[in-house]
């Protein structure tokens, strides 16, 4: 008889929507043992190829069943620098869990029966953090002490820095904002990615010798070539996809129409949910619409709903999406959490025009109903707007969460770094080297919007190539 999956503990809906504390509290050692014992320990595990960085999932789950939690931690760390982060934000249902043998064939995402690999990873990651487990340094005498610059302190930059630092390379991370972490800091809300976890991982990196310089925009404060002049032998670009896309419909510049990036940056980076203790304000509405179906849309909606609750407004936050729930790119857990918390879902809607009041604040969104047509290049059924189906939605605050484009601050002043038409940096797929010798790149600036773990995978590949590149100076 197959054992039932072990559910993870979560704070009650009532409790959680009144604050920004973490919703999922993770497995206890007993929970972890029980869940790990469900793993079939397949001879030829299909889950491992499902992980973008190839964590030896079979091995670490096996170690958990043997109560060797440290061993499990180190097994994950061999491939992933930040298990505590990835265990919280990885869309496992599209990756390792989807590849798990317990997932039904041809399912779009993981079945409930699939092993909760991400929760086990998080358990091991938190165990390592709580017990201050440290990966042994493996200094490479040949390149030890050589200098590498990393631009951007998001998932890609942190990963690349971690890898190189372990080899004894002197890494300096240049970060444009005043605080490090990139999208983990400004994008993902604290109720999903608690700040103490993020701070711990970053502090750990610093204690291992990585230097982080905030308030420093490479391309502005200093140019790329100046870094080389100063003795950095190689540069890794983890610039991210930081530029918000807008719908391009009339009325989009009315007040209280936010990009998800702005709304989330105000809340997550600038702590606007603590206004006026924090000085950065964020507006809140009675009828909030969030346009989009990805993780960012779910994050924005859940933040918005919390702010309504915290400001004694009856929660009324609606996700507006042009396809249906099945096509939403978001993690399933985020959709579930959003629904539990009271976020409404209005599917098959194509926004047409925002209209506002005299003072320029948004009041309504006119939209068209859609139906699903044939599958498109992404394999998802395409939405088709139905002519004449116009209707209005009340909307005194709107958040546009329809995607992000490449951050071009650096590439716009370094034309020698070749980019594609979207502004993404072109790299050699194996080495992650750009068109400029000694300059490597990874994360969203290369692949467009992706996941944290994909960014880390690219950063690790780049770190390996940078190591080889540094050899050429020896």
């Amino acid at each position: 008889m197959t054992k039932e999956p072990v559910k993870v503990k979560e704070s009650s809906v009532f409790e959680r929507i009144s604050n920004f504390l973490e919703v999922v509290s993770g497995y206890s050692p007993e929970d972890a043992l029980l869940e790990a014992s469900r793993c079939l320990q397949c001879k030829d595990p299909s889950c491992i190829p499902g992980c973008p960085v190839g964590i030896n999932i079979k091995k670490f789950i096996g170690q958990i069943t043997e109560k060797d939690f440290s061993g499990a931690y180190f097994t994950i760390r061999e491939k992933n620098n930040f298990p505590g982060i990835c265990g919280r934000v990885c869309p496992a249902e599209y990756q390792c869990r989807k590849a798990c043998v317990l997932t039904k064939k041809d399912s779009i995402f993981a079945s409930d029966q699939a092993i909760n690999i991400h929760f086990l990873e998080r358990f091991a990651g938190d165990f390592g953090m709580n017990n201050k487990l440290e990966m042994a340094k493996i200094p490479d005498q040949k390149i030890s002490g050589l200098k590498v610059a990393v631009v951007g302190s998001g998932p890609a930059g942190l990963s690349c820095a971690g890898e190189l630092s372990r080899l004894g390379v002197k890494v300096v991370i240049f970060e444009s904002l005043h605080n490090s972490g990139g999208v983990l800091r400004y994008g993902i809300p604290p109720f999903r990615m608690p700040r103490d976890i993020l701070d711990f991982e970053i502090d750990y990196l610093k204690s291992s010798g990585v230097e982080i310089l905030p308030n420093f925009i490479v391309g502005r404060t200093k140019e790329l070539r100046e870094l080389f002049k100063e003795g950095f032998l190689a540069v890794f670009l983890g610039l991210g996809a930081g530029v918000p896309s807008f719908l391009g419909i009339p009325g989009e510049n009315l007040s209280n129409v936010y990009s998800a990036n702005e709304f989330l940056t105000r809340i997550n980076l600038m702590s606007a949910y603590e206004f006026p203790k924090s000085h950065t304000p964020v507006n809140i509405g009675k009828h909030i619409l969030v346009i989009g179906g990805g993780n960012t849309a779910m994050d924005a909606a859940r933040c918005a709903l919390r702010l309504q609750k915290m400001n004694n407004i009856d929660p009324d936050t609606t996700i507006v999406y042009r396809r249906t729930e099945a096509e939403m790119p978001s993690r399933r857990l985020e959709i579930e959490h959003a629904k539990e918390e009271g976020v409404k879902f209005r599917m098959l809607v194509k926004p047409e025009e925002f209209s506002g009041d005299e003072a320029g604040f948004v009041k309504k969104l006119r939209s068209l109903e859609c139906k699903l047509g044939e599958s498109d290049a992404s394999g998802r059924r395409k939405p088709i707007a139905i002519a004449g189906s116009d209707f209005n939605l009340d909307c005194d605050l709107a958040i546009i969460a329809i995607g992000l484009k490449a951050n071009q601050i650096l590439t716009s002043v370094t034309p020698e770094i070749k980019t594609n038409k979207y502004g993404d940096v072109l790299v050699d797929a194996q080495t992650m080297e750009t068109s400029v010798k000694g300059v490597f790149a990874g994360g969203d600036i290369v692949g467009g919007e992706g996941t944290v773990i994909e960014a880390m995978g690219m950063a690790k590949r780049a770190a390996l190539a940078i190591k080889d590149y540094l050899y050429s100076f020896c």
């Binding site: 444009s176 904002l177 005043h178 400004y186 905030p214 308030n215 420093f216 925009i217 502005r220 404060t221 200093k222 930081g242 530029v243 918000p244 807008f246 989009e252 510049n253 009315l254 007040s255 209280n256 936010y258 990009s259 990036n261 702005e262 940056t265 105000r266 980076l269 600038m270 702590s271 603590e274 206004f275 006026p276 203790k277 924090s278 000085h279 950065t280 304000p281 507006n283 003072a359 320029g360 604040f361 951050n407 071009q408 601050i409």
Partner: protein
Amino acid sequence: MKILEKQILSDLQGIRVISLKVLALQIALKAKPGQFIALMVSKEGERIPLTIVEKDKDSITLIFQEAGLTTKLLGKLEVGDSLFALVGPLGHATEIKLYGRVVLVGGGVGIAEIYPVARALKEAGNYLVTILGSRTKDSLILEQELRSVSNELYIVTDDGSYQRRGFTTDILKELLEKDRYDLVYSVGPIPMMKKVAEVTKDFNVKTIVSLNALMVDATGMCGCCRVTVGGKTKFSCIDGPEFEAQAVDWDELTKRNRAYQDKEKHICNLNKFS
């Protein structure tokens, strides 16, 4: 990020305009006229943009009016104190070249923002006519500095307490009626810049304004500072801050800049700033 010098440029019933010279070696090395920085006064503070007014070997000078909570907190800092964060230089630099005859129009604290541009345009060999507008005599700033780089200087005050009573645009119109000019460059309150755009339209003269849209990160990530220019959405922080005056949707900018008025008032009251 340490404050090296502090000077109160004007104090009109408690509303002060203050100049701070801040240690910022890297920014000073790179800054060009027309560019700005983003700063935070404290860990819990807002990020606000301010124009780089002057630069030295290792420092930059910022001039601001105590208008909201952040600028009031900034005004409380003394020599020796440090900012929590300072990043730049941001935005496009002003295109400095020999235009020929240039009119500069500065209003209020915007006068500080035309000063670096005036100096650079003068050095490039332009004939400079500068118009400064102030509410009253006591709130006028940088008169001597701008006089020293201008071929002609006109001053207007709202109340007539100094020089001519009236608006900067009154003088601008008279100048344009008399002579041919190659560029008008203006920074000041939105109603003034809007009026400048209206006046110069009839004279077919290239008119550049530097906008003071609200910003958060100020590096192109959030879109808070978006403004419609020539029917297209632009980000003031990375596409600007300068735009062709006639193309700017002034009403939209006016309204967007008021989006947090209530919250600003509330937080100022809480902190006993009125």
